[in-house]
């Protein structure tokens, strides 16, 4: 097990190096990156000066090494539109994004479990039919459009939920104001409901299908038949025997799922004017604020990689077979 963890950690380091290489090369992909940093009316001398100041006149490998060097110190350069270190701005927006991502993930898992089970144990019935149809639609609706539709219906027509904004929970919590954080919590959740559903629906639908098919497969196994023939109640068979193994494929994709969720968050935040990294990225894209885009993308990718690592380590604990075979992830 120790060697697996070590190998997995090493793999993550390789991936992080890959990510820095990609964010670095992305900047070079459009030709001389100097033009992204100077105004359109800049004179040739100004462009040349900027090129030297930004270091774009140096050989590529030198540029990359100094870029990585800056990154290890948390330095992503100055945001062009805020005139502040890009990383500071992104870090400020991170808690809101994490709140939204966790909330959506919670919806995607907590609702999917009963739906998936219900569908599997009632295979072929109207229950199964409606749940699988719902899941099919859930995987086909663009999340941002779902957000827009919910704003129209629940926000503007029924006036049940706020259509924009955010009440911070994590920020006061991290600052040590536990009282403020928990006083905020009900309103935090209230503001999270619509964007959370918009972001989470795709994953909810996918998880439902996954739990259904995984449980169906497990229910056909010999050991489940043995459990039944021992005269155990169906509930006991389901909870103590079948579900334990039906979990595994679900846990595997939870890590990958976070990547989907982050993608959804970026777009849905814009729809709900939700002050997270997504909306920040959207503004940065429109202002062509490259350092800010780089900082936001790298930070989200970093969070994603860390989470995937965590999930894989949890997986080793859940599946005893992994300990024996020391298999690759």
């Amino acid at each position: 097990m120790g060697s697996y963890v070590l190998r997995r950690l090493l793999q993550s380091v390789v991936v992080i190096v890959g990510v820095t290489l990609v964010t670095f090369l992305a900047l070079q992909a459009g030709g001389d990156p100097t033009y992204l940093f100077v105004s359109e009316r800049a004179s040739l001398e100004e462009i040349e000066a900027a090129r030297r100041a930004l270091g774009f006149d140096r050989p590529l490998h030198e540029q990359y090494l100094s870029y990585v060097g800056d990154l290890t110190r948390g330095d992503f350069g100055q945001s062009l539109s805020y005139r502040q270190p890009a990383m500071e701005i992104v870090l400020e927006a991170l808690p809101a994004t994490i709140e939204l991502a966790i909330f959506s993930m919670f919806i995607a898992i907590v609702v999917a479990i009963p739906l998936g089970i219900l569908s599997a144990i009632n295979r072929g019935t109207a229950w199964d039919g409606s749940i699988t149809t719902f899941a099919m639609f859930g995987q086909s609706i663009p999340n941002f459009w779902m957000g827009i539709m919910m704003i129209l219906f629940f926000g503007l027509y029924l006036r049940w939920f706020p259509i924009s904004g955010h009440v911070p929970f994590l920020t006061p919590l991290l600052a040590g104001d536990v009282g403020v954080a928990f006083a905020n919590l009900p309103r935090t959740l209230y503001h999270l409901i619509l964007p959370g559903i918009a972001v989470g629906t795709y994953s909810l639908a996918r998880n439902t299908r996954l739990i259904r098919s995984s449980l169906l497969e497990v229910l056909e196994q010999d050991y489940v038949r043995t459990a039944r023939s021992k005269g155990l109640s169906e509930r006991r068979v389901l909870i103590h025997h079948a579900m334990r193994n039906a979990w595994l494929p679900v846990v595997t994709i939870i890590g990958l799922e976070f990547g989907f969720l982050l993608g959804g968050v970026v777009v849905v935040e814009t729809v709900f004017s939700y002050p997270g990294i997504g909306r920040l990225l959207f503004a940065a894209i429109n202002q062509r604020d490259i350092p800010l885009v780089q900082a936001g993308v790298t930070l989200l990718a970093g969070v994603f990689i860390l989470l995937n690592l965590l999930v894989d380590l949890v997986y080793v604990r859940l599946d005893p077979r992994m300990k024996l075979s020391e298999g690759r992830a």
């Binding site: 995987q139 609706i141 941002f144 885009v293 989200l300 994603f304």
Partner: protein
């Protein structure tokens, strides 16, 4: 690992029977046919030039009649452009980008997977590690990063979305190639003195294509969703080209004024298209190989 590879005459009839019996795939095919016609013949079918502004008739309700007696079936937008015409033109970008990106991603992925599976060793390691790194990166972020730098445009969109898909194909093709490499008929081709290129592309490739159609169908669906999201963020095609995603982006400005039709119709178009491809993928999977369930 044997697999029902190429549908035979008998298979084709069975496919059709499953399709008709379950109704949904039939509806999906019908809708996609309709969308393809809209994409191909948009200029003939659409009642107006999608970019023609009509400042007298801005934000007209669906079924509004213009001063010259022309009918705005689905209403008009903030610049007085006909929503139906823009919707029909929007089908072009979505379907074109969807299919072209799959061609790019599938092409790269198939070649990479064949090389990886056939040669093994360091070639295999290199290709698969690059794939791992790419998958460790939330795809939409990668797309945003490259499109911001490269600039928007149909070509760049296809390239970025296509490159985003190759790993899935490569992994499946690699696994199938690995198992086929040792089969007798490949062995026979080798003994007959066929060149490596011929063995890879003429002997192995035709036998692994069928399951890829399933992946491709789901993939078109997810690429269309990504394209819509990127267009929504303003990273898609230039503003002069109407797309479903950019129509939704524009609809946000008039949302509070309850101009619902601007937000509803493009979304329904995206949903039905994506839904159709997903249903088609499900049907293809059930037909070709139920075991693929685990991999998609």
């Amino acid at each position: 690992m044997s697999r029902a590879a190429v549908p035979t005459e008998h298979g084709a009839r069975r496919a059709l029977r499953i399709m008709v019996a379950s109704k949904w795939p039939l509806l999906a095919v019908a809708f996609l046919f309709f969308a393809s016609v809209a994409a191909a013949f948009g200029p003939v079918l659409s009642p107006f030039d999608p970019n023609r502004q009509n400042l007298v008739l801005r934000l007209a309700d669906p079924m509004a009649v213009g001063p010259d007696g022309s009918l705005f079936w689905l209403g008009s937008d903030a610049l007085g452009r006909d929503v139906l015409s823009r919707l029909l033109y929007g089908a072009r970008v979505s379907l074109l980008v969807g299919f072209a990106a799959i061609a790019v991603g599938g092409g790269i992925g198939i070649v990479a997977g064949l090389l990886s599976g056939y040669f093994g060793g360091w070639v295999d390691d290199l290709i698969m590690r690059v794939g791992d790194i790419q998958l460790a990166f939330p795809f939409i972020l990668l797309a945003i990063l490259f499109l911001v730098v490269l600039g928007s445009g149909v070509g760049n969109l296809i390239l970025v979305l296509g490159v985003g898909q190759w790993v899935t194909y490569a992994r499946i093709v690699r696994a199938d190639t690995l198992s086929l490499r040792e089969k007798e008929f490949v062995e026979a081709a080798r003994a007959l003195g066929d060149s490596t290129v011929s063995i890879i592309f003429r002997t192995i490739l035709p036998n692994i294509l069928a399951p890829l159609t399933v992946i491709a169908s789901f993939n078109v669906a997810s690429v269309i969703l990504s394209e819509a999201a990127l267009s929504f963020l303003g990273l898609g095609v230039p503003p002069s080209v109407p797309t479903w995603g950019s129509m939704l982006a524009e609809s946000r400005d008039t949302l509070v004024a309850n101009k619902w039709w601007l937000a509803v119709f493009p979304g329904v178009a995206i949903m039905l298209t994506v839904l159709s491809f997903n249903i088609l993928g499900d049907w293809l999977r059930d037909f070709l190989d139920p075991r693929l369930r685990e991999r998609t």
